[in-house]
């Protein structure tokens, strides 16, 4: 894997491919990070895309004195904070997330991102029908009865599939705690 710093200096010389690699490497992580501040998926994506677009346009004047990763996260955080300041009425939730997040470290976000990825991966690995039922229940908050009607199956089947999904995910994700500890060790070393 190419080093971030190497890619970044190639990008500064106008290399589009390096820019693309960096973009794809960091995009989702930065979006999750931004989401924690602005609490809105569209806004998070807009901020991160805006950051990269601006960086590309002004590459001749970009000058960083820290790691690329740090620079990305810090820039996105500042953009988020600016964005929040723009709201005339800051609702309670945003205030809270702001207070929680201002002091947080980048490393926490990385493991959050890895965790989200891992959980998504395990959900995706469920058999298709079980996955569909699980997603209707957990993502769309449908009651079992509503799921049964929508898929033209019995409520009993929904019950069983949800039970099987929980059991399967419990086994696969049983080592979540271990995973977090492992990741922190790697990042600190």
């Amino acid at each position: 894997m190419d080093k971030n710093e190497q890619l970044f200096s190639q990008f500064l010389k106008g290399n589009r491919k390096s820019f693309e690699i960096l973009f794809k490497r960091f995009y989702a992580q930065l979006c999750y990070y931004a989401y924690k501040y602005v609490n809105d998926f569209d806004e998070a994506e807009d901020i991160v895309q805006g950051f990269f677009a601006k960086m590309w346009d002004s590459k001749s004047s970009v000058n960083i004195n820290t790691s690329v990763k740090n620079y990305f996260f810090r820039s996105v955080r500042n953009l988020c904070l600016n964005q929040i300041k723009h709201y005339k009425v800051v609702d309670q939730h945003r205030k809270e997330s702001l207070r929680d997040m201002v002091t947080s470290e980048n490393d926490n976000v990385i493991y959050d991102y890895a965790l989200v990825n891992r959980i998504n991966q395990c959900i995706d690995e469920l058999p298709p029908k079980r996955r569909e039922i699980f997603v209707l229940s957990r993502e769309y908050d449908l009651k079992y009865r509503e799921i049964a009607e929508r898929l033209n199956i019995s409520v009993k089947t929904v019950e069983t599939q949800m039970g099987l999904a929980l059991k399967e995910l419990r086994v696969k994700l049983g080592d979540i705690k271990k995973m977090i500890i492992g990741l922190i060790l790697i990042l600190k070393s």
């Binding site: 794809k24 998926f41 895309q49 298709p128 949800m162 039970g163 999904a165």
Partner: protein
């Protein structure tokens, strides 16, 4: 822990109403299992993550590209303004007829397609009120003028038709090598391109089954017509097995049927693959009726009845082995 208890816990955590017996199970689990807290945390995490957007870097990258490409192309336009104008005019001249043709054909044709792994079995109601259920890996195409004089529909793959009677406008299913003409009836057409035969099973009414070389047979209710692609021969089977249309009815019946014959029926009905270990006795007999049950359930029943172990090794692959 028993599967039943997992079902109850999942129901409880999903916010379903439980009865007293089920609530007792939850209470017991709460007090006796120290991993209760972990299970609750996990479930909450799963719910949170399921609701999170999956940020798609590729899509975002494409979007960014679009904006940048747009910028560069406008700059170029201003450099050689006149040349670009001519180019644009020529492009319009070339593109308009193509778009027009596309518009016309897309206006005239309606197409529905299912993917090979699509087991949703969608039901389409045609403009005359007839219904078509589409099996996996199949396509139907028909004209928007479908209802005007004749009702003609093209099929690749397999579909079940429920046709409303209309003597004025015959209903016609056209496949690559044979066609079916009907007045009003329900029937199943199996015409997957790679398969040896094209099969038509009639569950009610009468249909006419005609090959491309103009052999014709009449099929009555309960009969099955078979057209062999290689020899162009047509034959009538006096009974069709109800299990042939189990993919649409979800009704499967086994009457002292041996395991070897059961498996192809299940594979067809549920679009799955079943593998069987060499030492399993395929002459074991099963008598059972299934109505609307999914493959997991059916394999549970078969496993318990015939004392076999059945494992789901992939999404759509099951493995049958002896209990060791």
């Amino acid at each position: 822990m028993k599967q039943e208890n997992w079902n109850i816990i999942a129901g409880y955590l999903s916010g379903e109403d439980l009865d007293d017996e089920e609530l007792r199970v939850i209470e017991q689990y709460k007090t006796n299992h120290k991993e209760w807290g972990e299970t609750v945390d996990l479930f909450n995490n799963l719910s949170d993550v399921a609701k999170m957007r999956r940020f798609d870097a590729q899509k975002a990258w494409d979007k960014l590209q679009e904006k940048h490409n747009y910028k560069t192309s406008t700059r170029r336009l201003s450099v050689s303004h006149i040349t670009m104008k001519y180019a644009a005019a020529i492009a319009v001249l070339l593109v308009v007829p193509v778009l027009f043709w596309y518009f016309l054909t897309s206006q005239n044709q309606i197409t529905y397609t299912t993917a090979n792994n699509d087991n949703s079995r969608p039901v389409y109601v045609l403009s005359d009120g007839s219904k078509v259920t589409l099996n996996h890996g199949s396509t139907i195409t028909y004209s928007k003028k479908f209802n005007n004089d004749k009702r003609e529909i093209q099929l690749t793959g397999e579909a079940y038709f429920d046709v409303l009677p209309d003597a004025e406008r015959p209903f016609m299913v056209v496949t690559d090598a044979a066609e079916v003409n009907v007045l009003g009836t329900s029937f199943n057409v199996n015409a997957y391109p790679g398969a040896t035969n094209i099969e038509v099973a009639v569950s009610s009414g009468v249909v006419e089954f005609k090959s491309k070389n103009n052999s014709v047979i009449q099929l009555k209710q309960g009969e099955k017509g078979i057209f062999e692609r290689k020899t162009n021969k047509m034959a009538i089977h006096s009974t069709f097995n109800k299990n042939d249309i189990a993919w649409v009815t979800r009704q499967i019946e086994f009457n002292a049927t041996n395991l070897g014959k059961i498996l192809p029926v299940l594979e067809k009905a549920h679009n799955i693959n079943v593998k069987i270990e060499d030492d399993v006795d395929t002459t074991l007999l099963l008598t059972a009726t299934f109505n609307q049950q999914d493959a997991d359930y059916i394999f549970d029943v078969i496993g318990i009845t015939l004392n076999l172990e059945i494992e789901q090794i992939e999404d759509d692959v099951y493995l049958i082995k002896n209990i060791k």
